[in-house]
């Protein structure tokens, strides 16, 4: 009888651990909707665990170590320097710009790096990156991004929106969730 109880308990534990593994499987979603003439639409969603499986394929094509923002290249080593300064600082607002085109605000709050851009013509950018993700992304050696660490960090950060961009031509959303979502505008 005792043996049966042990077997039942073991089977239950295995079933529970499998169930838990499935339940914690997170998905990263990328959705881009263009509102111009072609109305292009891209919807990608993959389990984060699967991304790590695919990493060996993209590692062969690792980038040059620069990040291009709005046509300007920034060296990753330089980014690391800035990040080290922000990371060790207290929560607060670090950059506030008000000009003719937009209001920009960069802040660190509750383990999140927040970037808000409000363009006067209606465009809006919201970036909400957990510190762990930036740490992982910039934690590589030399001038490379540590993609492995980035994927590991994505698997452990809180679920929700990471990036949303809305302007008159396009809508971009990157978020983490615990389930696949139906594609937007799913009509054929």
């Amino acid at each position: 009888m005792k043996k049966i109880r042990v077997q039942v308990a073991l089977a239950g534990a295995i079933a529970l651990s499998v169930g838990t593994a499935r339940a914690t499987d997170r998905w990263i979603h990328v959705r881009v909707d263009e509102r111009d003439e072609g109305h292009a639409h891209v919807d990608l969603q993959v389990p984060i665990g699967m991304v790590s499986g695919l990493l060996p394929l993209i590692k062969e094509k690792r980038g040059s170590g620069t990040i291009r923002v709005d046509g300007h290249e920034t060296d990753i080593r330089e980014m690391r320097g800035y990040w080290a300064a922000v990371r060790s600082a207290k929560d607060g607002e670090y950059v506030t710009i008000h000009d003719d085109d937009a209001n920009v605000r960069v802040a660190k709050s509750g383990g999140l790096v927040l970037v808000n851009v409000d363009e006067h013509d209606g465009g809006r950018v919201r970036v909400k990156l957990p510190v762990a993700i930036v740490d992982a992304a910039l934690g590589g050696s030399e001038n490379t991004v540590d993609v492995d660490a980035l994927v590991r960090a994505l698997a452990s950060v809180p679920m929700g929106d990471l990036v949303t961009v809305e302007d008159e031509d396009s809508h971009v959303r990157i978020w983490i969730d615990d389930a696949p979502a139906p594609p937007s505008g799913d009509v054929r």
């Binding site: 109305h39 292009a40 639409h41 919807d43 990608l44 969603q45 389990p47 499986g53 394929l57 696949p180």
Partner: protein
């Protein structure tokens, strides 16, 4: 019932159980292995219109029996991508139904989705429609075949 009748009854019953069991197992294996579907439709009078459905069991048998081309130039590339292919194929088997990729642009539509035990790739364009469905199990068998071939290639080096 005489002894001979009992013996005959036992033989008939055994054969019945064997036939039913084998048929049931075959039907289950047939159902479980899914099917490979290929559909191509091109508009116009001379456009291609093809719809092909093959039972997964036959495709799996073909994967097991057909020799792979002995193209040694592939080996270094396979070494690099096989673990990723294996991990992806195994992962696909556990995924719930989901649209993994959905791209629409200028009247064209490409979709990759997991449906049941199959991966379905569909392309809808102005110049035709193309759809292929492949059981995840067949994909895993292809990867296993490549792995075994790669193992032999490494041993031969």
């Amino acid at each position: 019932m005489s002894r001979g009748e009992r013996l005959a009854f036992a033989i008939v019953l055994t054969i019945g159980v064997l036939v039913t069991g084998t048929a049931g197992a075959a039907a289950y294996a047939w159902h479980r292995s899914g099917s490979v579907r290929l559909a191509v439709h091109e508009p116009g009078d001379d456009g291609l219109d093809l719809a092909l459905t093959l039972p997964g069991a036959i495709v799996n048998a073909a994967i097991a029996l057909c020799p792979l081309p002995a193209d040694l130039a592939l080996d270094p590339q396979l070494d690099a991508i096989l673990p990723a292919l294996r991990a992806t194929a195994d992962r696909l088997a556990d995924l719930p139904d989901a649209v993994l990729v959905d791209v629409r642009d200028d009247g064209e539509h490409v979709r990759i989705e997991k449906v049941g035990r199959e991966i379905v790739v569909s392309v809808h364009a102005r110049d035709g429609r193309f759809e292929v469905a492949l059981p995840v199990e067949s994909l895993r068998r292809i990867v296993s075949k490549l792995e075994s071939r790669q193992g032999r290639a490494i041993a031969a080096r």
